[in-house]
C-alpha cells in the first residue's frame, strides 16, 4: 500500500505520520500542498500541526490548497483519508466531515496521554481494533473542541459514525466527548488525538496508535 502524507506550510507531524506508515508496514509517499497531484497513492493522511498560519480559522485556508481539490475528489471515489488534529480541522472545513472544531473550552493548550474508546471499527483506518477497545494516544491541541448541531450529533451517533470518544474526562469541551468521526461512507476519518505519536514504546505512551496505520491494509486486502 502506498500512503500519501500531505505537507502544508506549518505541518508538524508529517514526518511522524510517514514514519508511522512505514512502521505499519506500508510505503509512505510525501505529498505537497501546492501540487495538484496525489502521485497515485492508495490512501491519504492530512497530518497535525498547523497550516497556512491557521489564519481566519484552523484549516480554512488549507481547504483551498491545490492538493485538497485532489483529496476531495479522491475521497468522493472512496479513497481512505485520515485527518489528524489540524487534518481533522481541514476535513471539517472542506465539508468532507460534518461539524467544526473550536478553541478548547478551558482556553489552554492540552498535551497529554489521553484514554479513548474506539467505537467504530468498520472504517479502513480502525479495522485493526476491537470494537470498544480502550486505547491511550497522545492528545495535543488548542482548538480541539468538536461542535455540531444537535441533529448532526444525533445522526452521527445513530449511524455509528462516532469513531472514538474521550474517556476519563473531557479534555477540550468536545460535544458528547467526541474525539473522532467518520463520513457516511466510512472512508474519511477525522481524529483529534495523534496515533502517529503512539507507534513505538521508546518514544510514546505505548503503541496503541499503530492500528490506524495497519488497519487499511487489512481492510483492503480483506
Amino acid at each position: 500500500m502506498r500512503v500519501g502524507v500531505v505537507t502544508f506550510p506549518g505541518s508538524l507531524d508529517d514526518e511522524d505520520a510517514r514514519r508511522a506508515v512505514r512502521i505499519g508496514g506500508h510505503e509512505a509517499v510525501a505529498l505537497w500542498h501546492g501540487d495538484h497531484d496525489l502521485q497515485g497513492v492508495d490512501a491519504v493522511i492530512l497530518p497535525g500541526g498547523f497550516s497556512y498560519g491557521d489564519y481566519l480559522r484552523c484549516g480554512a485556508i488549507s481547504r483551498f490548497a491545490p492538493v485538497m481539490t485532489e483529496v476531495v475528489a479522491a475521497a468522493g471515489r472512496g479513497m481512505p483519508v485520515l485527518g489528524i488534529c489540524n487534518g481533522f480541522q481541514i476535513l471539517c472545513e472542506s465539508h468532507l466531515l460534518p461539524g467544526a472544531l473550536i478553541r478548547n473550552d478551558h482556553r489552554k493548550f492540552v498535551c497529554k496521554d489521553q484514554k479513548l474508546r474506539i467505537e467504530n471499527t468498520r472504517t479502513p483506518w480502525t479495522s485493526a481494533y476491537d470494537e470498544g477497545a480502550e486505547v491511550t494516544i497522545v492528545l495535543k491541541n488548542g482548538e480541539g473542541g468538536y461542535v455540531a448541531d444537535a441533529d448532526t450529533l444525533d445522526r452521527l451517533e445513530g449511524e455509528g459514525r462516532v469513531l472514538a470518544r474521550y474517556l476519563d474526562g473531557n479534555p477540550n469541551g468536545s460535544m458528547r466527548d467526541i474525539a473522532g468521526i467518520t463520513n457516511e461512507r466510512g472512508n474519511v476519518v477525522g481524529l483529534m488525538p495523534h496515533p502517529e505519536h503512539a507507534v513505538e514504546a521508546l518514544t510514546g505512551a505505548g503503541t496503541d496508535g499503530l492500528g490506524f496505520f495497519q488497519s487499511f491494509g487489512a481492510a483492503i486486502a480483506g
Partner: protein, 82 residues
C-alpha cells in the same frame, strides 16, 4: 471602488472561549456590571467598481465561502460608511 464590511460572529449556541476570557478580565480591571462578551471578526473588503447588488452578492459569497464557517458562525454584510 466600493467598500463592504463583513461582520462574523460565533453563533449564539456556540461556546466562545475568547469572549469568555475577555468577560473574565473586565471585572478585574474595575469594569463592573458586564453581563456577557462575544468576540467576532470584522473584515473590510474593497472591490473594484461601484457598489451594486452584484458586488454585494459577490461579497456575500466570499463571506459564505471563506470568511465565515456557517457551521459555527453567522455573518452580515453592509456597505462601508466612511
Amino acid at each position: 471602488m466600493a467598500r463592504y464590511v463583513v461582520d462574523v460572529m460565533p453563533k449564539p449556541e456556540i461556546l466562545d472561549p475568547q469572549g469568555k476570557a475577555v468577560l473574565g478580565a473586565l471585572p478585574r480591571l474595575g469594569f463592573d456590571g458586564v453581563l456577557d462578551v462575544r468576540q467576532g471578526k470584522r473584515f473590510e473588503v474593497e472591490v473594484d467598481g461601484d457598489a451594486s447588488e452584484e458586488t454585494l452578492a459577490e461579497v456575500r459569497k466570499m463571506a459564505e465561502t471563506l470568511l465565515s464557517n456557517p457551521v459555527i458562525e453567522d455573518y452580515s454584510v453592509s456597505e462601508h460608511q466612511p
